[in-house]
Symmetry: C2
Subunit: 346 residues, 2 copies
């Protein structure tokens, strides 16, 4: 099968990657659409020491499963495959199982391919009304929702989201539904405008008045760092009121992931720092079904899988939002007949 | 001025009620629209021993205020007028100040009239894009949001709202924005349909399977009683899982407010019972501005103030949702010239 593989410090498309086989309790999924995430780019810089097929955001069709109810159904899949028997798993912390595999990130080939494998328990049926182009956002939207799972953001809280990338735009939308006083700070006016059109307040990140979210000289109760950069941490602290909550969504590759940081500033201001990673799929699908989250404006381009190398390069360029890869279409001149549509620009 | 007054166990419209005078720190507000709330009906049955002008939900125009920025502006107003100096007020608990007055409920004439008075600090400017018919819902919407202020409802929580009255429909909409697994139970299919059209799951309250919100035999993490009836409490407990949170939004007049209740059931199931009353206006206005809350379908009728007695009687009838009273219009034959529109049916 076709697959976008990272190995020997290189990302390349191969046409003859061995098709995966589903073991007991697993499902074989034919990928329709897959998304390229910042984490995939970090992996190509050495993050997680991963080797294999990239990609962990997808929507696809179940082709093999012991669960008849899933056969032929359109699904999205949680990316953590826990052992299911350790103490973490017994306590419902499967996402933190020390033996876990993670789709396209840790010990498990990913979904930037024709097929992928996941435990049947990881799969969620996609409601008919949710198009593929929205369903493929379920995983990052779930990651955004994890913030609300971990932290009680009150309607009267003031909250700042730093970063207007793919994740920042999803986090901002999810947090805005709490009714809180929200300000989103970023470097790209065109991305901030996506939020402005939905009535969400934004500010250019280099605006020096950024320490005053409510225009009243006050700092925020909650700051969420979605910059994807080591510097995001200290910027977030500068915006936070004493006793506030700082939520970190950024992960980095080792070589550019370190920063000079004095943790005493967390002690002095009694800041509650909360790391936040993967989140719940069911509520993400509920919000998508109710059309409460804008996803189409977040798509920069859709490439056929045959052009996945170019897609990956494009996803790494500054200012680009979500690049999707379509496995169900083939470019003209390749062996497939299912579709001939080429790269779509948004 | 005209005012709908409760005194001597009777609700009646008077045309010569003394116009209120604003003291220092207070504003005189010309009422545009006022809403009739279940609490007003309870007051007419003896709740709170209140005597005077009824009504606490309104949108109006500031006609007198020391704050020039408010003059001539369209506002809504928080209904609790605290003393501002006691220990409660010092700790930000003004809504619970023992010396507080409450608009149309406790020691302060209400807004079902041509004019009302509130402390300037209680007023919030209404964004231009929010029409009067939506702005008048700010107070009950804030009361709905108070639930999210008090309780962390997680995206993965299962939640049941009991009651499909005015408040229940607002509570359901607010809670649905968390992404949680929500089921609303009520007796009126036409009201539940308002929620169904917004993608919110509902069930008839007499459906015997109601103890299984997720269709998996499981009970709810959070149950919110908006029935406005004493029986709501025990029904709510029957739907709640052990260790769950039960939120009570119902208040009753003394004569029909008692029920046989054994609090040991709260102890055995370790239930967290949380009373919930007034809430924050600013987030309510943010949600209305972003059109995230349906209010127009919640309006059963709009009557001119001259027909407020009939409006009040109508609001008490079974199955009726919000009845609004328009103070800026006068019926034909009365002295006003500003408008001649009669009762509007929805």
């Amino acid at each position: 099968m076709r697959a976008l593989v990272y190995e020997e410090n290189k990302v390349r498309l191969t046409k003859d990657y061995p098709e995966p086989k589903a073991s007991a309790g697993e499902a074989l999924i034919r990928v329709i659409l897959a998304g390229i995430c910042r984490t995939d780019l970090e992996i190509s810089r050495g993050y997680m020491d991963f080797k294999g097929v990239l990609g962990h955001e997808f929507v696809g069709i179940v082709e093999e499963s012991e669960d008849r109810a899933l056969m032929g159904k359109r699904v999205v899949g949680e990316i953590n495959a826990p052992c299911g028997i350790c103490l973490y798993c017994q306590r419902g912390l499967g996402n933190h199982c020390p033996q876990r595999k993670v789709l396209g990130i840790l010990g498990l080939d990913g979904c930037l391919a024709d097929y992928c494998i996941l435990p049947t328990n990881n799969l969620h049926l996609v409601p008919d009304s949710v198009p593929d182009e929205a369903a493929v956002f379920t995983e990052p939207l779930a990651a955004a929702l994890q913030i609300l799972e971990q932290v009680h953001i009150k309607p009267t809280d003031s909250c700042v989201v730093i970063g207007d990338g793919k994740l920042g735009l999803l986090v901002a939308q999810v947090v805005s539904l709490t009714g809180c006083e929200l300000l989103v700070m970023g470097h790209h006016q065109d991305k901030l405008d996506i939020l402005n059109r939905r009535g969400i307040q934004t500010k250019a990140a280099d605006d020096r008045s950024h320490a005053e979210p409510g225009n009243k000289g006050k700092k925020a109760d909650v700051v969420i760092d979605c910059t994807g950069k080591p510097e995001g941490l200290s910027q977030a602290i500068s915006l936070l009121k004493p006793g506030g909550k700082l939520i970190l969504k950024s992960t980095f590759a080792p070589q550019d992931g370190s920063l000079l940081f004095n943790p005493a500033m967390l002690v002095i201001d009694e800041i509650n720092l909360i790391g936040s990673r993967c989140g719940p799929f069911a509520p993400a699908l509920r919000l998508l079904e109710r059309e409460l989250i804008e996803t189409s404006a977040l798509i920069s381009a859709i490439h056929p899988l045959d052009e996945a190398e170019a897609a990956f390069a494009e996803a790494g360029r500054r200012g680009i939002l979500k690049v999707l890869v379509n496995s169900s279409q083939r470019t003209q001149g390749t062996q497939g007949t299912e579709g001939t549509q080429r790269t779509q620009r948004r």
